[in-house]
């Protein structure tokens, strides 16, 4: 086993070690901490890209097996496995792409607003990466908890009334979800006798009928846990307040959190209940579809009803979730392809938007920013005040740059051309309106019309709301002072928007990757084969000398 093969576990270990090391450094040595954090995140990004390139090159069972890491050298399904395939690599890259800008953004002021920001941030990355990599159901729970625990810490970072209030709800609901997760996992274990996801997929086929209902009940409970995290209506009311209350860079990285739920739903529903695997195949798809519809509707309405930008962004998260759930619920490979592209695009967008909001609202007059949570922290002198210094220079053209960024976010959220939001929407719509292949005389089923209508409606609501807020922010506020914005605050936003631009320009290769991902998901035999046949190192890892 060469060092390169350990790369698979690097996305978990690098942030873990960094987070731990940062604890040993005194809180006052901020620069040092920041540098270490940034370095780790850059390494993480590089690792993610390397894994992404590896995943993209997977072309057969042998290559797929290379992407499996047997922890402790225990063969699957006994030990815990980490699996890099196209989907997990995509999520890793997405995480790293969000992480770096968010972290840089935080360096301007936010990382000093409370204790241990950098450690918590690294632990969050560890949790996210672990959740994406693991091939074990219970290990998934553990990484969920890691990322949630870190997210609690980061959500509360900076403290303050709104954060604590939102945090209380967020934590209470996620604790309930964690309990459901445990119930679901244990039921599945009780019925199938395994925790390994690939092994589970194999065993599900042979579960006898009287046990199958228990399996389905367990899967149902597990599903509720995931859907809470994915933000499905009506289990998502906690989300907008929490994301709104979070500090900007925290919200920036939180953009990926709901996607973890989506990821798991996608992964498990296709792996375990995929087409033709067992009599349970397609289990829960209807719930996803209807739930997704409700979510996107609620999200779109919420977007319309949002006065504050933060809430608007929070509801945009719901729109994104609803769209994805709906797309997954339709259970078609082509739609999944578009949905994956949408996932990448919308995540980048929302992340950029959350950070942008803080910059934009900084320039608002006091009346307008009564709504801004950040003011609550600033207006309230306390010992851990984020440093306001002479560093915040009003740059020339700041408003113009912010305006362009805002417009880009609006365009992306509404799915208007020319950015990736449009490409994503087009890809999904095109798959949805093409029930039986291009050029056929088939009609579009009624449910597709509803889905298409909702997607259009959500784009429209984003358009209306973003125009309304954009006008109010950039055009109607006359006495608004020029926000004091640092380069390291604008740059992350621009970086993320550039990523969407890259996604647009490289839509062809990107879509090919998503297509390969969707194909691999809907035909999981390669994943299962890779996990179950992954080879251990040496004869046996440990020997007891009697």
């Amino acid at each position: 086993m060469n060092l390169g093969q350990h790369l698979i576990i690097a996305p978990i270990l690098v942030p873990l070690v960094t987070g731990a090391l940062l604890l040993l450094i005194d809180e006052r040595r901020r620069l040092q901490k920041a540098m270490i954090g940034v370095a780790s995140t850059i390494i993480l990004f590089a690792v993610a890209v390397a894994l992404f390139r590896f995943a993209d090159s997977i072309d057969g069972p042998e290559a797929a097996r290379q992407g499996v890491y047997l922890l402790g050298n225990w063969a699957a399904p006994f030990g815990i496995v980490l699996v890099v395939d196209r989907l997990s690599a995509l999520m890793l890259v997405l995480t790293a792409t969000l992480a770096l800008p968010s972290l840089i953004f935080a360096l301007a002021r936010w990382h000093t607003a409370g204790a241990h920001f950098h450690s918590l941030f690294q632990f969050l990355l560890m949790g996210l990466n672990g959740a994406f990599l693991t091939g074990d159901l219970f290990n998934l729970f553990v990484f969920f908890e890691v990322l949630l625990a870190a997210s609690y810490g980061l959500l509360l970072h900076g403290s303050g009334l709104l954060r604590v209030k939102a945090g209380l709800h967020y934590i209470a609901i996620n604790l309930a979800a964690a309990l459901l997760f445990l119930i679901g996992v244990s039921m599945i274990y009780g019925v199938t006798g395994t925790l390994n996801m690939a092994d589970l997929a194999v065993r599900v086929a042979s579960v006898e009928p009287q046990k199958r209902m228990l399996l389905e009940a367990g899967a149902g409970i597990l599903g509720v846990a995931f859907l809470i995290k994915a933000g499905m209506w009506p289990l998502n009311f906690w989300l907008p307040p929490a994301y709104t209350a979070a500090a900007a860079p925290v919200a920036g990285i939180f953009a990926i959190l709901t996607k973890v739920g989506i990821y798991v739903v996608l992964r498990l529903s296709l792996l375990v209940f995929g087409e033709g695997t067992s009599s349970s195949s397609g289990f829960g798809l209807q719930v996803l579809l209807i739930g997704g519809m409700a979510t996107i509707t609620f999200g779109a309405i919420g977007v319309l009803a949002s006065q504050a930008l933060g809430r608007l962004a929070g509801f945009s998260v719901l729109v994104s979730s609803g769209t994805l759930l709906m797309a997954i619920g339709l259970g078609s490979g082509a739609i999944t392809t578009g949905a994956l592209f949408y996932l990448a695009s919308s995540t980048l967008t929302i992340s950029a938007f959350f950070m942008l909001i803080e910059l934009v609202e900084r320039g608002q007059d006091a009346g307008a920013s009564m709504l801004a949570v950040t003011m609550e922290v600033y207006g309230d002198a306390d010992e851990d005040e984020p440093e306001e210094g002479g560093e915040g220079v009003a740059l020339p053209g700041t408003m113009a740059v912010l305006g362009i960024c805002f417009a880009a976010c609006g365009i992306l959220l509404a799915g208007l051309p020319p950015l990736s939001g449009f490409v994503a929407k087009f890809a999904m719509l095109s798959a949805m309106l093409e029930p039986a292949g291009s050029g056929s005389a088939a009609l579009v089923p009624a449910v597709m019309w509803v889905v298409v209508f909702l997607i259009i409606l959500s784009g429209l609501s984003a358009l209306i709301a973003m125009t309304r807020s954009g006008i109010r922010t950039f055009w109607a506020s006359l006495e608004g002072t020029k926000p004091r914005v640092l380069v390291i605050e604008v740059a992350p936003v621009l970086l993320l928007l550039l990523a969407t631009l890259l996604l647009t320009v490289q839509a062809g290769p990107a879509m090919r990757y998503m297509d390969a991902t969707a194909r691999a998901l809907s035909a999981p035999h390669q994943y299962i084969d890779a996990v179950t046949n992954a080879r251990q190192v040496g004869p046996a890892s440990a020997e007891v000398q009697q």
Partner: protein, 112 residues
């Protein structure tokens, strides 16, 4: 055994659910604690109940006589995480109580 335990789990769950639906943060944290007992017992029960079985591989013990160790390992992890989250929730509810002046879960007394 199974009947008693499952009844017990049910009652604990019911009490826990009742409590987490109450308006006071303290009730919620007690409820969550009760629920985690219930869930831990549930996980444990999933492996099947073995009264008076060996717990440790000793010389001559049949491996099959041991109760399923996997759920036990899961429960141990769950206990630790449950402890951690209880602590966290407690501190957050204290912070909320300090900042809002009330111990209502929504940070204000409900008018209705």
């Amino acid at each position: 055994m199974e009947l008693v335990l499952s009844l017990g789990i049910g009652i604990m769950t019911g009490s826990g659910v009742w409590l987490i639906l109450r308006p006071r943060t303290y009730q919620v944290i007690i409820g969550l604690s009760l629920l985690s007992y219930a869930v831990n017992l549930f996980i444990f029960g999933v492996g099947g109940l073995k009264v008076n079985g060996p717990a440790i591989l000793a010389d001559g013990t049949e491996a099959a006589a041991l109760s399923d160790p996997v759920p036990q390992a899961l429960v141990l992890t769950a206990i630790v995480i449950g402890f951690a989250t209880t602590a966290l929730f407690l501190v957050v509810l204290l912070a909320a109580r300090g900042l809002t002046g009330t111990d209502h879960v929504d940070g204000r007394e409900q008018s209705q």
